[in-house]
């Protein structure tokens, strides 16, 4: 596995990590509001 495959993979992980954080926080806030 070359370095660019790792970098592209890391960018995917970062992107999905940000999406997951936003969705989890939104879900938590919505649940608290009932």
């Amino acid at each position: 596995m070359d370095i660019w495959t790792v970098i592209n993979g890391l960018i995917y992980i970062l992107a999905f990590g940000l999406i997951a954080w936003v969705l989890l926080d939104a879900g938590r806030v919505s649940k608290r509001r009932g």
Binding site: N8, I11, L14, A15, I19, L23, S30, R33
Partner: protein, 468 residues
């Protein structure tokens, strides 16, 4: 006001420089790329004419937007002005037009950022970088409008200063120029080319009206909106003139008309590494700034539509900690990703321009109605009084319709599709709004009843929300 309106409200923290950053941040990308298609159609003279005609229209539009934004102080911008002063059908059409305009631009900007990154590092893939840009900007806008627009301020400032430095270095003899390019490509397609070039004129300024959309989040909207927006318009006029000069004397007209990144190419032709680096950085940063501003504006437009029940009121929730319309912000993400990977990006961008031009017909019309309904020049109703109104508003409508008609050359089907789309939206939402029977009054905004309201019944049509 909707019964489902959430108790938390948008936080009032923005200052005039944030308004400037939002407006110029979205638009400046159009000076780094896109405007040069005017040269392909009408040569250097066609481009100059398009810049001046579109510039005149946008100066008037931004004056109208400043007056309306400072008066209403609402997040929906053009949507709220149409809702208050024209009617529900026009409001829904404008709200959707603004949403589509900005979300399509965001998708385009994210892809361009990915392509620039790939041109620097060829092994990088476009898909993950585009996805990352959209996700990162959604995250920043989710966390707070101040952070998002402060970031925009710095990105935009660097991109604008890059143009200014390059211009002065060229103007004072630091770079070898080719004045003969001006004459070689002055008017390649004759008078018809001048007319056809108008359709790309809006690229110099497309989206500046969105600066007023943060009015509800400004500390002092009566001052911040006119100041930030007019300063933004002056910045863009100066930037447009500098850009046209630089590219015209550094790139032959036949190459300029098809260039992807004209300012960057002009820097490459100067043969000086410092300008290549500066304008390359500027191209990259202005795309990020534009996408960032687009997330902010499209989410506010969707939030405003939701708050008044034009779309599901579920989207009108405000985050209790960050005071952002968090569901509307999140909703920009799947739509932008869908547009970005649809494979029809050029069609999407054209749809964005048609949507913008529809707004440019309806914003001055909303101002004319506003002036008719509220002729009083009191500071409560009209904190900012735009000069020569409503005459210049009629002039702006005439220019917008003229530019819209030039899209018939080359974009006939996009134009027809847009008219059908917004026509259906107009009639659907007019019907839906009547069945919801929402009644509100102007007193919530601290305004008197509009003149002739007993006869027009406009009092019943209007939903007034909050004030400073």
């Amino acid at each position: 006001m909707s019964e489902n309106h959430e108790s938390a409200s948008l936080v009032k923290t923005l200052r005039p420089f944030h308004v400037w950053a939002l407006g110029v941040g979205i638009v400046l990308v159009g000076e780094y790329m896109g405007w040069n298609f005017t040269v392909a159609k009408g040569g250097i003279l066609g481009s100059l004419l398009a810049m001046l005609v579109a510039g005149t229209m946008y100066v008037i539009i931004s004056l109208c937007a400043s007056e309306l934004g400072a008066a209403t102080k609402l997040a929906g911008g053009p949507y709220d002005w149409a809702r208050l002063f024209i009617g529900p059908g026009a409001a829904a059409s404008v709200g959707l037009a603004v949403y589509m305009e900005y979300i399509a631009l965001e998708a385009a900007d994210a892809i361009v950022v990915a392509f620039i990154a790939q041109s620097i590092f060829p092994e990088l893939q476009v898909f993950p970088v585009t996805l990352f840009v959209i996700a990162l900007l959604t995250f920043i806008n989710y966390r707070g409008v101040v952070a998002a627009l402060t970031l925009n301020f710095f990105l935009t400032m660097i991109a604008f200063i890059s143009i200014v430095v390059f211009f002065f270095a060229t103007a004072f003899g630091g770079v070898n120029i080719h004045p003969e390019y001006l004459f070689q490509g002055a008017l390649p397609n004759g008078m018809i080319g001048l007319f056809a070039a108008l359709q790309f004129g809006p690229w110099f300024y497309l989206g500046i009206e969105g600066a007023a959309m943060c009015a509800e989040e400004c500390k002092h909207p009566s001052r911040a909106v006119p100041l930030g927006q007019q300063a933004g318009m002056i910045t863009l006029l100066v930037g447009a003139a500098m850009t046209l000069y630089l590219c015209s004397v550094l790139i032959p007209a036949d190459q300029l008309g098809v260039s992807v990144y004209p300012l960057f190419e002009a820097a490459q032709n100067s043969g000086m590494f410092i300008f290549v680096a500066l304008l390359g950085l500027g191209t990259f940063l202005t795309c990020v700034a534009s996408a960032n501003g687009c997330v902010c504006d499209s989410s506010r437009s969707w939030f405003a539509l939701s708050r008044d029940n034009y779309v599901s009121s579920w989207f009108s929730a405000v985050h209790p900690r960050y005071n952002t319309p968090y569901r509307a912000v999140i909703f920009t993400m799947p739509v932008a990703i869908g547009f970005a990977f649809s494979g029809f990006l050029d069609q999407v961008i054209t749809f964005s321009i048609v949507s913008g031009l529809l707004c440019y017909v309806l914003i001055p019309f909303a101002l004319i109605r506003f002036r008719n309904l509220f002729p009083q020049n009191t500071s409560t109703i009209r904190p900012f009084v735009s000069p020569l109104q409503p005459y210049i508003a009629y002039f702006a409508i005439a220019i917008a319709i003229t530019i819209l008609s030039t899209l018939y050359w080359g974009y006939k089907y996009n134009l027809i599709f847009a008219f059908v789309f917004y026509g259906i939206a107009y009639f659907y939402f007019s019907h839906r709004h009547r069945s919801l029977n929402i009644e509100n009054n102007w007193t919530e905004m601290g305004w008197p009843l509009p003149s002739g309201s007993e006869n027009t019944g406009i009092r019943k049509e209007v939903t007034g929300i909050g004030d400073e």
